[in-house]
């Protein structure tokens, strides 16, 4: 078993290609199925760490403050994301509560923490404990973080309620908007390219 380093394989159709060295920002696509095979992520990396840190901060804000406040004939009601999850649990449908908890809080948070850990500069970058395991976790989590879908859900719910009550958007709503924009950049980064970064560090 030995490595063939000058060839590369498309992970979606198995076609073999000669490896090309890509300039900054260039993307290599498979000529057979059109899949994105490789990307020079050097430049992206510089933005990634600050963006991850900023996302973490905004993520905390988005979860502490209420998303929305409702006023109905003098009666007030407000909820945070966690509050909504908890009231689903008391409703007895803990399966759905778990699903919401995982896709909007747990998985995005884990993604950000892992990315932060992997990107933070260290003295021995080639010897980071758990590197390959964490990249595997990142790849598994990738389809399941759904902050942007949640934001659309909030907007739909607000419009639905605005017919029957007065709606006051909370701080967390704006935080979720910002978070969606930032996570689009952070999470769209394919964890596979972290290997490429690791190699260039060595």
């Amino acid at each position: 078993m030995h490595e063939i380093s000058d060839l590369t394989v498309c992970e979606q159709c198995d076609a073999v290609f000669q490896k090309l060295s890509l300039a900054n920002g260039e993307i290599a696509r498979c000529t057979r199925c059109g899949n994105e095979m490789d990307r020079n992520a050097q430049q992206r990396r510089n933005h990634l760490l600050p963006l991850t840190i900023a996302s973490l901060i905004i993520f905390v804000i988005a979860n502490i403050f209420p998303i929305v406040e409702m006023e109905l004939q003098g009666l007030h009601s407000q909820t945070t994301l966690l509050g909504a999850v908890l009231s689903l649990t008391t409703e007895g449908i803990s399966m759905v509560a778990l699903l919401v908890l995982a896709t909007t809080i747990l998985f995005p948070f884990m993604q950000m923490l892992i990315l932060f850990y992997l990107l933070v500069p260290s003295k021995h970058p080639d010897n980071r404990p758990g590197f390959s395991l964490l990249i595997r976790v990142m790849q598994m989590l990738r389809p399941w973080g759904m902050i942007e879908v949640f934001l659309l859900g909030v907007l739909v719910a607000l419009i639905k309620l605005s017919n029957m009550a007065t709606i006051i958007p909370g701080i967390a709503l704006w935080a979720f908007c910002m978070l969606t924009v930032m996570l689009t950049v952070v999470v769209s980064f394919n964890p596979r390219y972290l290997w490429q970064l690791e190699e260039s560090e060595q």
Partner: protein, 248 residues
């Protein structure tokens, strides 16, 4: 340098016979880090990242079928059972996914009705249909529209998550409208089934191996006849729009 790579496959002959595959020439690629190994066996560990190597996702067709069928079964209660129960002083009414969409349409929120209709109704339906097409054509090792099917698969992966929309809407409304005795929204059984459909179809698209689209009968024969000296197909095609995507 870069222009010197030969390109055997032109756009009009982009069928599988013109490409050498890793499996065909006895190479194994690591799904994890993308390293390519010669004379490695199925089940070996990648020396670079320690992931298990395999030519195709294990048992892909069977697993995907199981998940798709389960999703189809759950699709019925997801659309028949109420997802949300609104109770006020005077009345209590139940909403299914479709009646929620109709409510938006009738009350004049056409844009919103369209968004929810697409995300909650159309996307799950199209996703199930796409997975059926992908599975059946892969089982028959069909050479029919392979490029389109590869694109279809990527599309399914990309849009599948958006059908979670209704789950989030219901969770938020349940969390917010809890004014005891006055107005209360609670979740119906339908939302559990609906969440299950979304999760099952997402798992199905993850367990489907897109390489099966290209594993046609003639691709293997052709690959075995190829001499190891000319194993590379082409240079990687450089995307014409790459300059637009350059800065992010």
């Amino acid at each position: 340098m870069l222009n010197s790579y030969r390109n055997f496959a032109t756009q009009d002959t982009a069928d599988s016979t013109h490409f050498n595959t890793a499996t065909g020439i006895g190479l194994l690629s690591c799904h994890q880090c993308g390293k390519l190994w010669k004379s490695a066996k199925q089940g070996d560990r990648c020396k670079h990242c320690n992931a298990t190597l395999h030519t195709r996702k294990p048992d892909s067709i069977n697993r995907t079928w199981a998940l798709v069928i389960a999703a189809c079964i759950m699709y019925i209660p997801a659309n028949m059972m109420p997802v949300m129960i609104t109770s006020t002083f005077f009345e209590s009414h139940q909403d299914t996914i479709l009646s929620g969409i109709i409510f938006f349409w009738v009350s004049g929120e056409w844009g919103l009705a369209a968004v929810v209709f697409i995300a909650s109704f159309l996307v799950p339906l199209l996703k199930l249909a796409s997975l059926f097409i992908l599975l059946i054509s892969a089982q028959q090792k069909s050479t029919w529209r392979q490029l389109e099917r590869a694109k279809l698969y990527r599309m399914v992966e990309l849009i599948g998550r958006w059908s979670m929309l209704d789950v989030f809407v219901v969770s938020l409304l349940v969390g917010l409208v809890q004014i005891q005795g006055f107005a209360q929204i609670s979740a119906g059984v339908g939302i559990v089934a609906f969440g299950a459909v979304v999760v099952l179809t997402m798992l199905a698209s993850i367990s489907f191996d897109p390489r099966l689209i290209w594993d046609t009968a003639n691709s293997h024969n052709d690959a075995q006849q190829t001499q190891p000296t000319d194993i590379t197909n082409t240079g990687i095609a450089r995307s014409p729009e790459k300059t637009l995507q350059e800065r992010t």
